[in-house]
C-alpha cells in the first residue's frame, strides 16, 4: 500500500468518524488473485500471505521446540502422534523411491514441505481472517484481512516449486555426479556414441540426435515442473478460499461449515501431493539413465547371442543333412 493510499484511507476514516451525517461508504471485501499488501517496509511489501507464512513458521518452530523438549525413550501422546506421522510418511517415501537409504535422504525436505504447506493452508481457512485493515479501493472501502493462506499466493508456491526443482537437480549432482546430471539435459554422450559405434550400428546416426533432442526437451520439462507444481497448489488453495467466501456470502453462518471441513481435507491432500511430487522429482534426479541404457544393451546382447546360436544350429543341421 503506497503512502498516498494510506493517507487517503486515513482521511476517509476520519471523515466517517467526524461526519456521521455524511454518506457512509459500505466496506466490501474483494477476492483477489494476488495477496493484498498490508505494510510497506522500504522496498519490501509485506502481504497478508507473507504474514500468514511467518505465522506458520512460528507455529512450526513452537511445535518443534515442544517436541524436542518432550522427547523421551518411552513416548508420550504428542510424541507418539508425531512418530506415527513420521513412520507413515517414511513408508510413503519408500513406496516412491523403493530404497530406504534414498528415502531417508529426501524425507526431511519432503516432510518440511508437507508441514509448511499444511499449516499455511489451514491458517488460510481459519476464522482469524476476520481481522484486518480497511483501506480505500477503486470502488470504495475495502477490507483487507491480515491472514490469507500462504499457498493462496502464487509467490509462495513458485518459491516452493523452484526450490523443489533446483533441489532435485542438486540432489542429482550429489547422488550421480555432474556429468550424468548434465547428460540428462545436454546429452553429449549420445553425440560421442555416433563416432564410437557408427561402424557397428549405422542406425545410431538417427537415434542419437533424437536422444539429444529429448535431452533438450527435459530442460523445458524442468520449467514445466515449476509451473505445474506452483499453479496446481495455488489453484486448489485459492479455489478453496473463493469457495468459502462465496458460501459465506450466500449464508454466513451454517452453509460454509461443510465446505470448511472439505477445505481442511483439501489442505492435507494438496500438501501431500506436493510432498510426494517433490519425492518423485528427487528420486528421478538421483536415478541414473545409463543404468537403463546399460540394461538395454545387455538385453540386446543376449538377443544377439541367441540369434547367433540359432544361426549356428541351422548351419549345423544343413551340414548334417548334406552329409546324409
Amino acid at each position: 500500500m503506497s503512502t498516498q493510499a494510506q493517507t487517503e484511507t486515513q482521511l476517509i476514516t476520519e471523515n466517517i468518524n467526524e461526519a456521521p451525517k455524511a454518506v457512509k461508504e459500505e466496506i466490501s471485501q474483494e477476492i483477489t488473485l494476488f495477496a493484498e499488501p498490508i505494510v510497506h517496509i522500504k522496498n519490501l511489501t509485506i502481504t497478508n500471505s507473507l504474514l500468514t507464512s511467518w505465522f506458520a513458521v512460528f507455529i512450526i518452530i513452537i511445535i518443534s521446540l515442544i517436541l524436542r523438549s518432550k522427547l523421551r525413550a518411552v513416548p508420550g501422546k504428542f510424541q507418539s502422534v508425531f512418530e506415527m506421522v513420521v513412520e507413515g510418511a517414511l513408508g510413503m517415501c519408500d513406496q516412491v523411491t523403493n530404497d530406504r537409504a534414498l528415502s531417508v535422504k529426501i524425507f526431511p525436505l519432503a516432510i518440511s514441505a508437507f508441514f509448511f504447506i499444511l499449516v499455511s493452508n489451514w491458517l488460510g481457512i481459519m476464522p482469524l481472517g476476520g481481522f484486518g485493515i480497511v483501506e480505500e479501493g477503486k470502488h470504495g472501502l475495502l477490507f483487507v484481512p491480515f491472514l490469507r493462506g500462504a499457498t493462496a499466493d502464487i509467490n509462495t508456491t513458485i518459491a516452493l516449486a523452484v526450490m523443489a526443482v533446483i533441489g532435485a537437480n542438486v540432489f542429482g549432482v550429489v547422488s550421480i555426479g555432474v556429468w550424468k546430471t548434465l547428460n540428462k539435459y545436454v546429452n553429449l554422450e549420445v553425440i560421442g556414441d555416433i563416432f564410437k559405434e557408427f561402424r557397428k550400428n549405422p542406425s545410431i546416426i538417427i537415434v542419437s540426435p533424437i536422444k539429444f533432442f529429448v535431452g533438450l526437451i527435459e530442460i523445458v520439462g524442468e520449467f514445466a515442473k515449476v509451473a505445474s507444481l506452483s499453479f496446481r497448489l495455488f489453484g486448489n488453495v485459492f479455489a478453496g478460499e473463493v469457495l468459502l467466501a462465496s458460501m459465506a456470502a450466500l449464508m454466513a453462518y451454517i452453509v460454509p461449515i461443510p465446505f470448511l471441513f472439505l477445505e481442511i481435507l483439501v489442505g492435507v491432500v494438496q500438501a501431500l501431493i506436493f510432498s510426494i511430487l517433490l519425492v518423485v522429482y528427487f528420486t528421478i534426479g538421483a536415478s541414473d539413465h545409463d543404468e537403463h541404457h546399460e540394461e538395454h544393451h545387455e538385453v540386446n546382447k543376449i538377443h544377439e547371442e541367441n540369434r547367433h546360436g540359432k544361426e549356428e544350429d541351422r548351419l549345423i543341421k544343413e551340414a548334417i543333412e548334406e552329409i546324409a
Binding site: 488473485l33 495477496a35 518452530i61 524436542r68 522427547l71 508425531f82 513420521v86 526431511p108 509467490n155 526450490m163
Partner: protein
C-alpha cells in the same frame, strides 16, 4: 509473461522471502524434531531388535536347560531305580544268608545241646555208678560189720561185678 506477472503480482522479493521461510522451517524441523526423533526411533528399534534377539537366546537357553534338567531327572530316576533294585536284591540275599546262618547256628546249638546232654547223661551214669558203688560199699561195710563169711563175700563180689 508480463501479463502473468502483473495479474498474479509476482514479486521476486516475496519469492525469496517465502524461500527463506521454507528454509527456516526445514532447518528448525530437521534440527529440533526430525533428527533427534529419528535418532531416538532408531535407538529404540535397535533396543527392540536386541531385546528380541536376547529373548530368542534366552528361550533357546531355557529350552536347553529344561532338556538338561529333564535328562538329569530321568537319569536320576533310572539310577535311583537301579540302586533300589540292587539294594532289594542285596537285602534279599542278605536275608537269605542270615536265615541260613541262623539255621546253621540253631543246628549247631541243637547239636551242642545234644552232645552236652549225652555227656551229662554219661557223667550222671558215672556218678550214679559211683554212688551205687559207694552205697554198696556202705551196705557191705554194714554187712561185714554184722556177719561176713566166704560165700557171702563171693556172692557180693559177683553181684557187684554183674552190675
Amino acid at each position: 509473461m508480463e501479463s502473468i506477472i502483473s495479474t498474479f503480482h509476482i514479486d521476486w522479493k516475496i519469492i525469496i522471502a517465502q524461500a527463506i521461510n521454507f528454509g527456516v522451517v526445514f532447518t528448525v524441523l530437521y534440527l529440533y524434531a526430525l533428527k533427534p526423533l529419528s535418532k531416538l526411533m532408531s535407538e529404540r528399534s535397535e533396543k527392540i531388535g536386541r531385546g528380541i534377539d536376547d529373548a530368542k537366546i534366552n528361550a533357546e537357553l531355557l529350552e536347553k536347560t529344561r532338556k538338561e534338567y529333564e535328562d538329569v531327572i530321568s537319569k536320576a530316576k533310572t539310577e535311583a531305580n537301579k540302586i533300589f533294585q540292587d539294594s532289594k536284591k542285596e537285602a534279599l540275599a542278605e536275608k537269605a544268608q542270615m536265615l541260613e546262618g541262623a539255621k546253621n547256628e540253631v543246628t549247631t546249638v541243637i547239636e551242642n545241646g545234644k552232645k552236652m546232654l549225652e555227656a551229662e547223661k554219661v557223667k550222671m551214669l558215672e556218678e550214679t555208678k559211683k554212688e551205687i558203688v559207694n552205697l554198696a560199699m556202705l551196705a557191705t561195710e554194714k554187712l561185714i560189720s554184722t556177719k561176713i563169711d566166704k560165700s557171702f563175700n563171693d556172692k557180693t563180689v559177683k553181684d557187684l561185678n554183674n552190675l
